[in-house]
């Protein structure tokens, strides 16, 4: 290995050691570095990297509650109607009930001026109620609700509900 390569390796190791979270949960894809909006990807990814992964949820819940809450967050499936990446809406009529079990669900909505109707907060609430009915068919209590911005798109948010199935 020549001296230039050695210096490069030392430098990259130093930056890795200095970095706060080199391998965080950030969704930066390696090929994003060659995309037309690569600068935006660097900024957005680093900002999401610096945030706690569940900031509001962590604040709202104690450690034990956080551990006991089943989070029904999406797996990145794209909603073809809204264009928002989110888990599919649970089909009405598909019912379950887990007494006293706590869940956290979220749905995406948009406040952008050009947002489609399917991205409205009204439909997000509707979808959350369908989801709550699916997991707590015999009733539920909403413990908390909050919204977080979607780092991928300015003006888009996630509405979260935390709820407990009736005992």
């Amino acid at each position: 290995m020549n001296s230039k390569s050695l210096r490069f390796l030392i430098s990259t190791c130093i930056i890795w050691l200095c970095s706060t979270s080199a391998f965080s949960a950030c969704d930066f894809d390696t090929d994003d570095a060659d995309s037309p909006d690569f600068v935006d990807k660097i900024i957005e990814c680093d900002e999401s990297k610096n945030k706690p992964s569940r900031p509001v949820l962590n604040r709202v819940l104690g450690k034990a509650e956080y551990k006991n809450t089943t989070r029904l967050y999406g797996d990145g499936t794209k909603d073809p109607a809204s264009g928002i990446f989110e888990r599919p809406v649970v089909a009405p009529g598909s019912m379950n009930h887990s007494p006293n079990k706590m869940f956290a669900s979220r749905q995406a909505f948009s406040l952008r001026p050009n947002a489609k109707f399917e991205q409205s907060v009204t439909l997000a609430i509707q979808r959350l109620y369908i989801e709550m009915a699916h997991y707590c068919a015999k009733g539920w209590s909403i413990e908390d609700q909050w919204s977080e911005p979607d780092p991928a798109q300015e003006g888009d948010y996630f509405l979260h509900y935390r709820y407990t199935c009736a005992g």
Binding site: K4, F8, W16, L17, C26, D31, V39, I42, K49, N114
Partner: protein, 322 residues
Amino acid sequence: MNKLILAAAIASTMGFNSHGFAAGPIDGTIYGKVNVSVVNADNGTTDTWKLNSNASRLGVKGKTEIADGLYAVYKAEFEMCVDDGDCKGQTFTQRNIMGGIKGSFGTVWAGKHDSPTKLAQNKIDLFNDLEGDIKNTFEGENRVSNIVAYSSPKMNGFSTTVAMIPGEGTDIDGDGQDDTGLTDGISYSLSYSQGNLYIAVAGDQDVDNQDLMRIVAQYNIDALKLGVMYQQNEDNLGTKDESGFFVSAAYKLDKKTTLKAQYGSIEDDADGDEEQTMSLGADYKLAKGTKLYVFYTDHTDSSVGEADKEDTAFGLGMEHKF
């Protein structure tokens, strides 16, 4: 020793003390990918098995907030040759390296980097870095030294990037004169993206001895991703006057499997020569960032008055991004 203390100690001895002046945290993230394939390449006379590294790379990127809403951004990416460790005689070779300032006005950046025209292609090339790479058929896929660029913020889906490339005393336009100006070469792109649609118009003037214009469109319909490109280019010596098109399609069969196909054809009006490229393949996702893939590529070069030259390749590979 705590790794941060160790890092600080090493950095201070090597002059990495600038973070003391920054308003925001110094962020640095290592990223990269290893992409290796076993390929059988047949050029019509010789049939060769080989292991390819396919632009495997290691990079560092990050940003520092230097004032409210004002960021210093950087990226330094190097190719590593996983197959034999020899990247043009070096262990690493330079890929995109840039530094810039981003604010509400947009981003001003500079370095050695893919031109706006190349960036505007936006990965409609589904066999990028493999034998079917669009750069093997079409001009305009340039990584340019000494590039100084401005990228606008996105406004109602529109954004633009304009770059100037000083010749630094080389004959960049082939007119026999050394070029010493700031805008000896120019590359630009104007793009619109909204939802599933992406459209871009891009062009070069005196970049890699070419004047070039391309139009790119990409559209996603559920599991299907379509791409199309039309391009015209001519070289500065007047010996090449090409026009051609490129189409690609990727269909996601399920969460793990994606089928891919692409075809491109370009014809030179100056001498009647024609090139065609066709690739078929499939990706199988093993995990987030990790996939196996297979591909077949056929590249035909037709020169007037000569027999067609056909190169084919098929291979099996693995890509792991980190």
